[in-house]
Symmetry: C2
Subunit: 417 residues, 2 copies
């Protein structure tokens, strides 16, 4: 038991600023919660920018050496973002025997293997709860709450920006472009929104969830990823007609020893809670062999929510300073994620047909009475439906190819939970 | 680090049997997850019944002395239910320096003060995650996931039996009696369902959540509790007309230093996730000053789901065998929970009026244009509405009392999140 636990924060951006705020504001509470007494105190804030006029001026250092060489620093928080220099700095801290907490999903998704290896060797704690779903303790629940379970799979709305966009399209019939502009105006989307709308952010979180759930490093480039740029207000309206909504879902499952994963827009039926998760909120469902399903929902981003997750991890490092094998994964075994397209599911399909009646009859014959969807204001040649029988995607594509009267424009899986 | 952690289970009922199953089935996994190696093993099963023909025959003991006096036992699980002898047995185990895990909400709600006191004195762990929402790690999330937050409040669907009944009334227009029978046929309700339908079970869980959230023991008898026996299919239909559903909500909040809490049916608007929590599922929303809201959802009861939560607590006891002040609360200070009726909210009201048109006009004048609700098959003298302006309940009752043309039969708060 140490009376005053000292923390260094690397990177004074939005999240780093939030973490500094929590640490200074709640120093005694954090001491009480982690050890039953004492305090948790900010000692350094590392940034290449000049912080001499900031509220953390007295903690400001420019050189990582100051943190690494100070035996008084117990825990280092990394909130710089990106892979370098965050990776080198974290490795130095771990090597110096300091526990490390990060909110950086790219770092963990791409460099987790090496970071765990060093943390194990130094027998220190390495934690990254804020990297997935921000403030919502999804990773912690998986590792500690469901500790007695083998995780069978997970699925979630892991990116708030795209969920804001899809919600706006769904609830207000906004076009994709208008919804994206609104997200940017509200500060939910970057000026360059590519990482969000192309699904890369959700993909990184999916990779982390997969790795932790199934125990070996799954890299983002293994995961088939489709963003939301192909979703239109027409799809949103068709989804409503089908009694559901379109959501960008990151998912993973383990069946017969193989790991499957993907990120793509899906039609989520209203009977599932995920279809009711709106706006910038995140939600993730975890499936365990004992618990069945558990769903967590909350703010996936934002300064204070993310800082809340980082601070909780800092406390875990204090409570359990040694390496925690349960909160880690093994190196990749070289096997890649299996192609989820082979898993049978139902599909939402929207396309065009010069003669919709004839096409509908042909599709009904070929697919076994799909459920056709109608929406107000649809062009005369639009035909949209949900297939009735689960089938692998290749099988669906083959069948659709055989119906020459119909050309498919959108094919999204139906989420089955 | 101990190679083989030994566990005793007191009470071989549904939950106890599930715990024994997890411990024997997952002995090595639990060792790995708690310590990184070794095993977690069942050593004793205590029951007054003859277990000599059961799968746990070789662990069976009838005398608590066998467990208390065996220095090899690290953790004792209590799944007997009720206050005595569970309380005496737990106290003996804690006094003997053994960590204790219980799924017994009545025990924790009524005897938590004394149990914490003994755990603190013996410096051992006392955990009870399974006592609220079964397998869903609500308490663990509050204490560890939101460790950097001050908890402002919570609200949840804490009883699966009544949620099954209300869902059946809502989705199938079943009467209360038919829905209760269905719950009994499906094994979701006891032959004597009083503790569930009168709200006592939800009240105990609310008391535990309040105590942990606000840091001092809140006793069940402090919490104004109304069950679901007063809810009819007419209310379910009116709630649907209002764009929501009736749910039994257990809630607590701390405002200006005062703790408010209650259990009662509420009209939950469809815009809130809780209105979509159906069947025997549980959900709880926690409000923290940093995180905003987090909601957890899953199976609140059942053998395996509850055993999952108990086993996770056993692992926490192994990881951190000493007393954890963060996972406890102070004794009651004698102050009782404040009357939630003073907090302004909107209300759902259903009643009768000999002349509904005249009554509606009078109510509109008195209440400031409430939203009137119509449902198919309503008797001619029925009048139901949702008030427009939040007001304390006493104020509403006074106003309703002044409208002599209308007699209120049901008054439920509108859930505001």
């Amino acid at each position: 038991m140490k009376e005053r636990i000292k923390v260094a924060v690397m990177g004074y951006g939005t999240v780093g600023g939030g973490v500094c705020g929590v640490l200074t504001e709640k120093s005694s509470l954090l001491g009480l919660r982690s050890q039953g007494e004492g305090s948790v105190e900010l000692k350094y804030v590392l940034d290449i920018r000049d912080l001499s006029d900031s509220p953390v001026a007295r903690y400001w250092v420019k050189d990582i050496g100051a943190i690494v060489s100070d035996p008084d620093v117990d825990v280092v928080v990394e909130t710089m973002g990106g892979v370098e220099p965050a990776f080198s700095f974290c490795m130095k801290c771990l090597s110096a025997g300091k526990s490390v907490v990060t909110s950086n999903k790219q770092l963990v998704a791409e460099k987790g293997e090496a970071l765990f290896e060093q943390a194990r060797r130094s027998n220190v704690s390495f934690r990254f709860g804020a990297a997935v779903c921000g403030g919502v303790p999804v990773l912690k629940t998986m590792v500690y709450g469901l500790a007695a379970n083998s995780i069978r799979g997970f699925a979630g709305i892991l990116n708030g920006t795209t969920n804001f966009i899809l919600t706006k399209m769904f609830k207000e019939n906004a076009s994709f472009e208008d919804a994206l502009s609104a997200a940017q105006r509200n500060g939910y989307a970057e000026a360059d929104p590519a990482a969000d709308i192309e699904g890369r952010d959700a993909c990184r979180k999916t990779a982390i969830l997969c790795s932790l759930a199934f125990g070996r490093h799954v890299y983002p480039d293994e995961i088939p990823t489709q963003g939301v740029t192909g979703v239109t207000d027409a799809d949103a309206a068709c989804a409503a007609a089908a009694g559901g909504s379109i959501k960008l879902i990151g998912w993973g499952k383990k069946t017969d020893g193989a790991v499957y994963a993907g990120v793509s827009p899906m039609l989520v039926p209203a009977s599932h809670l995920l279809s009711h998760v709106d706006g910038v909120y995140n939600a993730a469902e975890l499936h365990g062999d004992k618990i069945g399903s558990v769903l967590l929902y909350g703010q996936g981003a934002g300064r204070d929510a993310t800082a809340s997750a980082v601070a909780a991890d800092v406390l875990d490092c204090i409570r359990r300073p040694g390496f925690d094998p349960a909160y880690s994964w093994a190196p990749s075994n070289g096997e890649r994620v299996a192609d989820g397209g082979v898993l049978p599911c139902r599909f939402y399909v929207r396309g065009t047909a010069a003669d919709p009646e004839k096409a509908a009859a042909a599709l009904s014959a070929a697919l076994g009475t799909p459920r056709f969807l109608s929406r107000a204001g649809a062009p005369a040649d639009e035909l949209a439906f949900v297939t009735a029988q689960p089938a692998p995607k290749a099988h669906l594509l083959e069948t659709l190819g055989s119906v020459t009267a119909f050309e498919a424009l959108r094919i999204f899986p139906v989420f089955e939970g």
